[in-house]
């Protein structure tokens, strides 16, 4: 299995950064996931071979980290923080609003495969709560209105 040129280059560079091959595992899994959308069996097999580990050992690692997943999510992944600092500033409402607006439950994906909503732990935006991550982008000081605008603009973008 071959990854994109960019990822192949990243892998080639990264393995030179550490004395053991497996040290690249955690970040590489995340980068592979970014490229494939999810960690497929094929990808796990491939990375296991490259870092000279059993697939079992790779799966042990994959299942430990909450960002790594072996199932696909929507193109736009709304990861809403509901931890204490956000909770104090209405995160529950934001989260409920996202679910209601998109018509899906926690960790659900819309039938068109565009949106996923997920409740997540503290993302480090406590002083700008409530906050969420849309894929890797931070969205802070959220209000239900801001969520509406965001979803609408994404939908519009997809229709074009």
């Amino acid at each position: 299995m071959k990854f994109s040129d960019q990822l192949e280059q990243r892998f080639a560079t990264m393995v030179t950064h550490y004395p053991t091959k497996r040290s690249v595992l955690v970040p590489m899994l995340l980068y592979i996931q970014d490229e494939l959308g999810t960690l497929t069996d094929e990808a796990i097999h491939e990375i296991a071979q490259r870092v000279e580990l059993s697939e079992l050992e790779v799966r042990n690692v994959v299942s430990y980290y909450s960002m790594l997943r072996t199932h696909p999510v929507g193109k736009y992944n709304f990861q809403v923080c509901t931890n204490v600092s956000c909770l104090l500033r209405g995160a529950d409402d934001i989260f409920e609003h996202c679910k209601k607006k998109l018509g899906i439950a926690n960790k659900g994906t819309t039938p068109d495969g565009l949106f996923t909503v997920e409740e997540v732990e503290c993302i480090g935006a406590c002083s700008w709560a409530p906050a969420m991550m849309l894929n890797y982008d931070f969205h802070e000081n959220l209000t239900p209105e801001k969520i509406d605008q965001l979803i609408d603009s994404l939908k519009k973008k997809e229709q074009q």
Binding site: E52, L53, L56, E57, S63
Partner: protein, 797 residues
């Protein structure tokens, strides 16, 4: 570093520096509880059961991860500690299914014991437990997640111990779960160590689960009857219609030569004993068909036929083939029967390695064979040929453990990339069939190097290897049946020059015993030549024929020519093993003692159903020469043991059985009493003392200990501690006294068993469990579920 003195619960003790506190406590008789700590496996500090108080430390500390320090003052039981341990148990039980009434581990469960001790009886929690369905991971391994307490013992036993790494831990937090290497199932060596080491009933055996309760069984530690390593296996037996049936094999008491280890065969492959095809009555051939008969008629027929043939054609027309699975006493008795009662040296067995060459090369040397225990402690090991992972699983375990725990240096010389190369400091992949040349090279014949070198091994590397080996002091040299005859001698001379010790690898549970007991046409017990005057000539009460007899292949040739009139096969299947055309033996009178109608039994005139090694007492000798006691565990209605059959045939032939078995009873009554050997092992202490001093009266001709007395007295190297044997321990026999042993074994007769982990000769074919496992990895043609467990992939530690 100097020893360290510390105080535990007011007791002062001195232990070596770096000792773990939990072990230091153990050494003074204080048991600190733990789930995750397991000796010789990596430290976890996970279960928090071993929390103790250490002076000047505000928090409780785990005794399993704390090395002792000078002046340390430790308390192992206090209210604070009790409460900590109690709360751990409470937390474990909170999510535990508490299905103890049906759990396999009920009654043998460390969690139950700990709960009992720390009294976590009150249930504080009212919310739902986390549940997961039970999974079957292999034909023999089941996993019940809710019972798992996550002590990680199974992961470590499988990875660190077995070097299989088939188990892992997935998810995190309360979702953490032990996971098999193929997502929903296992592909591994199926050793079942994970089940043995599991402190609770989370991992259970497919061969045993839900069959019985532990307290309904009797537990008997005896010696495994499969390969030549001699592991202790604890058999759980329970009364059934056919007698005491074996329902479980495991390694619960860990007191054996095998320590923590037991492989798939020792654990599961006992079920041949109650295979539906097992014979319960003697058979005789009538009109080309085997039909059931009585013991009386069978013995009568055999005795009459043997007598008649002896009279008409003489002793040379009868042949005897012995077994690699029967006891030393039975083998000794069989060759004595052949030589004295029948008057022939026509006796042989299925040879799997060249023990005669080994004995002859070592003749007269002291302390030069290594025991199985030595393999765990030797600073350096040279392994030539063989694949211990498959053929000698315990040996492989010992080697791996030694490398892992004591940093032994392992040199592997093999024509295949065997799995043990992963532990090897040096692996020489030599050209196929060049083991002999390698030995010649070791001894200085540089010219052979070309035939050894391969694409993966240069001449320079060979020379370097030889130099390294020459510098190894206290080397243990282990070799397989690839080396025979002169090569064995060359290797041993090479090793002796630098003080090495040796192990010669033979297959099957008592092949070494069969060889030591003289199942050879040209050698008496102890490899003494039949032609020279020996202690046997002096002591035996009858004349020993002095001309060597026919070996197994010669007997078959004689049968073909019509010259072998009778063949007595005890516990062997030469027809299958040597691929003999049934027609060859059609003119001979063939008597077979076996459990099943094997290929050989099919062509027999009389088949006597006999007991297996799990159903008798006696001794056996593993491939290293370690002698152990067999203890009767199972019973099978209708069968008799080989020992009794031989004695009865001799008696029927009118032979004075006192000359075979030196028992002290009076005359032999018609029925000669009951088989006593079966009941040995239940003696009182007085009897044990008597037995240890060989003073125990042997009142019955069926008492194998009567012959053990003789073996200990006459067979070189077998003058071993009877008390140690009786205590269930192994005793290493030395070949020291065998001066002048001859190495006339014909190397062409040697046929290694070539068993894999999941086969065990004829015996294995009658173990349904073993077959199920075998088929899982070797599916019949057409089914594409071939295993892809790759032993070369290894987890980094």
């Amino acid at each position: 570093m100097p020893d360290v003195t510390l105080t535990v619960d007011g007791k002062k003790l001195t232990v070596p520096a770096e000792t773990l506190l939990i072990e230091a406590c153990k050494s003074t008789g204080i048991e600190v509880p733990s789930f995750c700590y397991y000796p010789n496996l990596s430290l976890q500090g996970a279960c928090r059961m071993c929390l103790v108080e250490i002076e000047k430390m505000p928090k409780l500390q785990t005794a399993c991860t704390t090395p002792v320090t000078e002046g340390m003052v430790v308390t192992t039981e206090s209210d604070k500690i009790k409460q900590a341990r109690k709360s751990m148990i409470e937390l474990l039980l909170a999510n535990h299914p508490l299905d103890c009434p049906v759990c396999d581990a009920g009654g043998e469960c460390e969690l139950q014991d700990m709960t009992f001790k720390y009294g976590a009886a009150e249930s504080k929690f009212m919310d739902l437990k986390n549940h997961r369905e039970e999974q079957q991971w292999s034909p023999v391994v089941y996993f019940d997640r809710p019972r798992c307490i996550l002590c990680y013992r199974c992961i470590r036993a499988c990875g660190e111990g077995m070097d299989v790494w088939a188990l892992g831990i997935q998810n995190r937090g309360s979702g953490s779960i032990i996971a098999p290497n193929k997502e929903d199932h296992l592909e591994c060596e199926e050793c079942g160590m994970c089940i043995d080491i599991c402190p609770v009933g989370a991992l259970t055996s497919g061969a045993y689960r839900y069959k019985t309760r532990p307290w309904e069984m009797k537990h008997i530690g005896t010696v495994c009857t499969h390969c030549g390593d001699g592991c202790k296996t604890t058999l759980g037996v329970r009364r059934a219609d056919t007698g005491m049936q074996i329902v479980r094999g495991d390694n619960r008491d860990k007191s054996g030569i095998n320590g923590d280890f037991l492989c798939v065969k020792g654990r599961y492959a006992f079920d041949f004993a109650h295979h539906p095809e097992r014979l319960q009555q003697p058979l005789i051939k009538r009109d080309g068909k085997l039909i059931q008969t009585t013991w009386e008629q069978a013995f009568e027929l055999i005795a009459k036929k043997f007598q008649a043939i002896l009279t008409s054609d003489g002793p040379a027309s009868i042949g005897v083939i012995g077994s690699n699975h029967t006891s030393n006493e039975e083998n000794y008795l069989l060759q004595k029967f052949a030589r004295l009662t029948l008057g022939t040296n026509n006796i042989d067995h299925h040879r799997t390695t060249d023990f005669p060459a080994f004995a002859s090369a070592l003749a007269g040397k002291e302390n030069v064979t290594a025991s199985m225990r030595d393999v765990l402690h030797a600073p350096a090991i040279l392994l030539i040929g063989n694949d211990p992972t498959n053929q000698h699983p315990l040996l492989a375990w010992q080697i791996r453990s030694n490398v892992r725990l004591h940093r032994a240096k392992l040199y592997v010389v093999n024509s295949a990339p065997i799995k043990l190369r992963r532990q090897a400091a040096s692996f020489a992949e030599i050209a196929p069939g060049s083991e002999g040349s390698f030995v010649q090279f070791l001894s200085g014949k540089d010219a052979t190097a070309d035939s050894i070198a391969s694409a993966k091994l240069t001449r320079e590397a060979l020379t370097q290897l030889r130099d390294q080996l020459k510098n190894e002091k206290e080397l243990v040299i282990i070799f397989g049946s690839e080396l025979r005859d002169g090569d064995v001698k060359t290797l041993i001379d090479f090793g002796l020059a630098q003080g090495a010790k040796f192990i010669c690898l033979g297959d099957y549970s008592n092949s070494r015993g069969a060889a030591d007991m003289g199942l050879y046409p040209d050698m008496l017990p102890g490899y003494a030549p039949v032609s020279s005057a020996t202690q046997f000539h002096e002591e035996w009460l009858d004349e020993i024929p002095t001309t060597p007899g026919m070996n197994l292949l010669q007997m078959m040739d004689a049968a073909k020519d019509g010259k072998l009139k009778a063949l007595y096969v005890v516990g062997s299947n030469p027809a299958a093993r040597y691929n003999i055309d049934p027609f060859v033996l059609s003119k001979s009178f063939v008597v077979v003692q076996d459990m099943f109608v094997t290929e050989t039994a099919k062509i027999a005139d009389v088949v006597l159903p006999v007991a297996n090694a799990y159903e008798k007492s006696g001794t056996c000798t593993n491939t290293c020469g370690d002698v152990q006691m067999l203890k009767k565990a199972g019973e099978f209605a209708g069968v008799r043991n080989d020992f009794e059959c031989i004695v009865r045939i001799a008696a029927r032939m009118g032979y004075d059985v006192h000359k075979l078995v030196p028992f002290t009873g009076g005359g032999t009554r018609a029925d000669m009493g009951q088989t006593r050997g079966a009941q040995s092992g239940e003696a009182d202490r007085h009897a044990v003392w008597l037995a240890d001093h060989n003073l125990e009266p042997k009142m019955s001709p069926y008492d194998p200990t009567a012959l053990l007395d003789e073996i200990q007295r006459l067979v070189p190297g077998y003058d071993i501690s009877r008390l140690t044997l009786l205590a269930g321990q192994d005793v290493h026999s030395q070949l020291v006294q065998i001066a002048g042993a001859t190495g006339t074994g014909d190397p062409a007769l040697i046929m290694p068993a070539n068993d894999s982990l999941f086969t065990s000769g004829t015996l294995g074919r009658f173990s349904d469990t073993l077959n199920t496992v075998y088929e899982r990895y070797n599916p019949p043609a057409g089914l594409e579920i071939a295993a892809d467990y790759d032993p070369t992939v290894r987890m980094e530690s």
